[in-house]
Structure formats: C-alpha cells, structure tokens
C-alpha cells in the first residue's frame, strides 16, 4: 500500500508542489535528450541508407571520444586533435564499408546486425588497447554549472551541448532534404536500384553515411566525454539511443529527434520523482521499458509507416 502510494501518488504530489523544480528537471531531461536524438540520428542515417542496424553506433561514440581525448592528452591543440579524429572516423567508415559491409552485401539483415555487434567489440577493444581504459577528463572550457533563466535553473553545459547537437541535427536534416547526396541516401533506403539511377555507387553512399554517423558519434562523444569523462561506460550511455529508435521508428529523422526528447525527459522525471519509490538506478532500463511498453501499441514506432505484408 505504502509502496503503491510512493509509486503512484507521491510523485504527482511532488510535481505539483514544486512545479519550478519539475520544470527544471523536465528541461534538463529534454536537453540531455537532444544528445540521444543525436546518436539515434546516427543509427537512422545508416539504417535508411543501408538497411543495416548499426549496433556499433555507441561504440563509435566511445571510439571517437577516446581518440579525441587521446590526441588532446598528447598535447596537440584541440583543432588539430579534432581534424585528426575526423580523419580517423572517415578512415574507420571506409574500412568498415570495405571490410565488413561489402563482403556481406545481400546477406540477411540479421547477419549484418550481428556483424555490427562484432564491430562494437572490435572498436571497444581497439580503442582501449591504444588509449587504455583509464578515465580521461576532457575539458572544453564550458562551465558545468547552473545559471538562471527566468527563475528556472539550467545547466550551462547542457545548454551548449543542446545547442551544438541541435545545430548538427538541423544541419543533417537539411543535408538529407536538400543536397543531392542526401536525396540519394533517401533513395537507397527505398531501393538500391533507385540509388544507382541517381548515379552514386552504393559503396560510396555507404562510406558517406558511415562517415556522417562517425562524425555524429564524434560530437556526441566529445560532449558526453566532457561531461562524464571519456570512459567505457560512454558506449553504454550511447546504447540509450536504441529505445529512442524504437520510439521514433528506425527510418524517421523527426522520430529520432522527438523520441530522443521524450526518452530524455521521461528518464529524468522518472529518475527524480519515481526512482526513490523503487530504489534508484532506474535510468539503466527505464528507457527500454518505456519503449517496450510503447511498442505493444505501435510496433512501427511514432513516425514509421505501417507495413503492408504481401505474399
């Protein structure tokens, strides 16, 4: 009874007694949600373009962060480090396309999916073999303390991160809608022949999307890295993008964005108001459960289109 009260009633009471606080939590959640959106976007890009469900997205975040932080620690100026890391990510994308995707083309998707799990392991192992597994602090000189906006406290860092991520998301959206390559990518998603007719070879397209996904990962890596420190757990955090995808639908960019925000906000609110009732640490799974529950009602996700099966 008590438990039920704590679970069902008390949180609402809390929320209504401290609306400002709730609002702050909400905004905080939304801001961190933007990061999820960003990573989720990486998934969507690759899935749309190559039908590959890239489980390695999380690993790519960690990988990028590791290299960037690593280069910084070697004393390089940040812009050089950034350039180098970008180079690494591009190289990585091409290697993956050449070594993994090309040999596996036309294999069932599930196989490709498992291959990306392989990539995940490889990247985790490789990155840490080179840079070690010690936690690296990454200081971008952005103050990590709250400031007040009209009575609401908001963490500056989150603000900046959100802005950066937001811009990137916007940029990508534009890239997809407007540019020729972007349209080509969308074409590939529909069918590969169409893509070829657009005149861009499939492997190039794949190399491109993986590069883009890599860069997205880089940004996410830097941001998270700066906030939480660059370490293995980043990969896990990045996995949060998976439930986001389920929520938003694998093929929908807006879905990825909205989904990210929902998950981010939901997670924070749950953590702050509900977790005490059931013993904390729920952000490990809350996102997944939320998505799972959601799935039962709308299997194709928020924005995914309904599939008509034919025989």
């Amino acid at each position: 009874m008590d438990f039920l009260y704590n679970l069902l009633i008390d949180p609402l009471v809390q929320i209504f007694t401290y609306p400002i606080f709730a609002l702050e939590v909400l905004i905080g959640g939304l801001l961190s949600g933007v990061m999820y959106s960003l990573v989720a976007l990486g998934f969507v890009l690759i899935f749309k373009a190559s039908g590959v469900f890239n489980f390695a997205q999380g690993a790519m975040v960690l990988f990028a962060a590791l290299f960037f932080a690593g280069f910084i620690d070697t004393g390089l100026p940040w812009y050089i480090a950034l350039l180098l890391t970008i180079g690494v990510m591009v190289l990585l994308a091409m290697t993956i396309e050449r070594v993994v995707l090309r040999p596996l083309v036309n294999q069932p998707h599930i196989i490709l999916f498992m291959a990306t799990i392989g990539i995940t392991y490889f990247l985790d192992g490789f990155g840490q073999t080179i840079w070690g597994s010690s936690v690296r602090v990454l200081d971008l000189g952005i103050p990590n303390n709250p400031m007040e906006f009209g009575g609401v406290l908001i963490n500056q860092f989150d603000m900046v991160a959100a802005v950066v991520a937001g811009t990137l998301v916007a940029a990508l959206a534009v890239f997809f809608q407007k540019t020729r390559v972007g349209r080509a990518l969308r074409a590939v998603a529909d069918d590969h022949q169409a893509a070829l007719s657009v005149g861009i070879p499939l492997k190039t397209i794949w190399a491109i999307v993986w590069t883009v996904a890599g860069l997205v990962g880089l940004v996410a890596g830097i941001m998270w890295g700066a906030k939480l420190g660059v370490q293995f757990s980043l990969a896990m955090v990045a996995l949060k993008a998976l439930p986001v995808l389920i929520l938003g639908g694998f093929t929908s960019i807006p879905g990825a964005i909205i989904g990210g925000l929902i998950i981010g906000a939901g997670e924070k609110l749950a953590e702050v108001f509900w977790a005490p009732a059931i013993g904390g640490g729920i952000e490990d799974w809350f996102a997944y459960m939320l998505a799972l529950a959601f799935l039962l009602f709308r299997p194709q996700g928020l924005f995914g289109e309904k599939i008509i099966e034919r025989v």
Partner: protein, 277 residues
C-alpha cells in the same frame, strides 16, 4: 487417429465424392471490398465455390487476384463483406485459423522454408494435426515418436504421389524451380485441406513442368476430391482444367461461369483475352 486409417478415409471420401462429383457450396464470398490506405484492391466481389470443383480466378495483373486469395485465407481483412465457409460466417480471421478450418494454399513466389528438407517442409503441413506436447517431444518417447512416424508415413504417400522421392532429403533451396513448386503443393496437401488455393501454380514453368503440374492438380482433385481455387495466367491451362472461371478486372468481377461461357463473354474479351493472350 491413425494416419493410415485417416488416409483410407480420404480415399473413400473421394470415391464417394466422385460418385457425387461437384457438390454444394462450401465457400461463398459475399460483397468483399478491400483497400489499402486509399487504394482500392477489391470492390464488392461475390462468388461461390462448390465442393470438389476447380475454380479459376483470372484477370490482368493488378486485377486483385492474389488479394482475393489473401482475403479467403484470412491474410488480408476486407473492410466490407463476409465469407461463409462450411456454413460458418466470418468477416475476418487469422490465417492460421483459416488453415485449421481446412483452407490451404500455395504461393505465387514460392514460400517454402529454405532451411529445411523437402520432407520436413511437407511435414510442416501436418503440424496442425500433431498433438504431442513439448515434454513428450523432448523425450521423443511413446506417443510423440509414434505420432511422428505416422505423419512421416502420410507425407511419404504425398511424396510418392507427387513423384519427388529422389529429392526427399534435399534442402529445398537446392531444388529446381519446378520441383520447389511441387514440394509446396505437397506441403499444402499434407494438411488434407478441403479447399486448396493455388496462386499461379504454373508461373515460370516450362512446358513439361506445366503438364506435370496440371496432371498433379487434376489427380489431386480426382483422388482426394479436394476443392480448388486457382489463379493462372495461361489461358490454355485454365480452360482445360477448371470447372468454372471467375474473371476479375481492376478489383471488380467481370464474369463468372463455365470456361466456354467466359470465353464467349464480350466484356471479358475486351478486358483480358483481347490483350495479347
């Protein structure tokens, strides 16, 4: 029930059937309309299928033939209309329910289970009748084993019937197209259906393969008295083997009658026979 007994049952059934030949209505399709999103696939289609007959549904591509079959075996759920099968009315029903009520089918593009042998594919057709529970199977003991053997025996009769002994244990993926079609037919027959839906059973076959398939279809109808609804493009074949023909065009029913009647029907000639065939 023992499958052997069971087998003789159908034989007798079909003997009787033969004395009776084409019987009364087993399936009646009434005012079926189906659409995907905005797209109309079927508009107010009605026709009846009588026991032991071979009914052909013909029509140009996109006439809604396959959709019609999909509605009959519960794969698509029509927005309007109903289907009365063996006196039981249903608006919509899951495919597996339809199957358990005795509706089996084959597919336009072969839908075999690629990872399994021809025999196993046909055995899956018996699954609905296999009762032994998981524990019994895990022990592979007593009834479970006996059941397995009996159904194997039954399937062997089908294999013999369709003359695919030589490929019994070959993974279906490795079989030539014509053979795969036969195995698929075998899988459908294994369920001892009272209505068999054939979606372009002869698509992409060469002459001999077509002749074989025709023979099998007629033999099945003759031996087991199975009622059949088939979609076929080859007009020659259709006119030869079917008792009645339903003509669809753009989701509407143009005609419904004996091959000759249909052949004579002006509308049909314009819409279908005129073009190419």
């Amino acid at each position: 029930m023992s499958v052997v007994a069971d087998l003789t049952d159908i034989n007798q059934a079909s003997v009787a059937a033969h004395a009776r030949s084409i019987g009364d209505v087993v399936l009646s399709v009434q005012n079926i309309s189906l659409s995907f999103g905005g797209v109309r696939a079927l508009t107010n289609i009605s026709f009846e299928v009588r026991e032991h007959e071979i009914l052909a549904i013909i029509g140009p591509n996109g006439a809604g033939k396959s959709s019609m079959l999909n509605v009959i075996n519960g794969f698509y759920h029509p927005q309007e209309g109903k289907i009365i099968h063996k006196g039981v009315e249903r608006k919509s029903m899951r495919p597996h329910e339809a199957a358990r009520r005795g509706i089996a089918r084959t597919f336009q593009n072969i839908a075999l289970f690629k990872g399994m042998s021809a025999l196993d594919n046909i055995m899956t057709g018996r699954n609905t009748m296999m009762k032994s529970n998981i524990l019994a199977q895990a022990l592979y003991f007593g009834p479970a084993r006996k059941e397995e053997m009996e159904h194997r025996k039954f399937c062997e009769h089908i294999i013999d019937f369709l003359e695919i002994e030589a490929v019994r244990k070959t993974p279906v993926g490795r079989l030539p197209y014509g053979m795969q079609k036969r195995v698929e037919l075998g899988r459908a027959l294994a369920a001892q259906p009272d209505i068999l839906l054939l979606d372009e059973p002869m698509a992409g076959m060469n002459v001999e393969e077509k002749e074989d398939m025709c023979r099998f279809i007629l033999d099945v109808n003759n031996e087991f008295g199975t009622t059949m609804v088939l979609i076929e493009h080859d007009m020659g074949v259709v006119m030869d083997i079917s008792d009645r023909v339903v003509v669809l065009d753009y989701g509407r029913k143009l005609a419904d009658g004996t091959p000759d009647a249909v052949r004579a029907n002006q509308e049909v000639i314009d819409a279908y026979l005129g073009v190419g065939h």
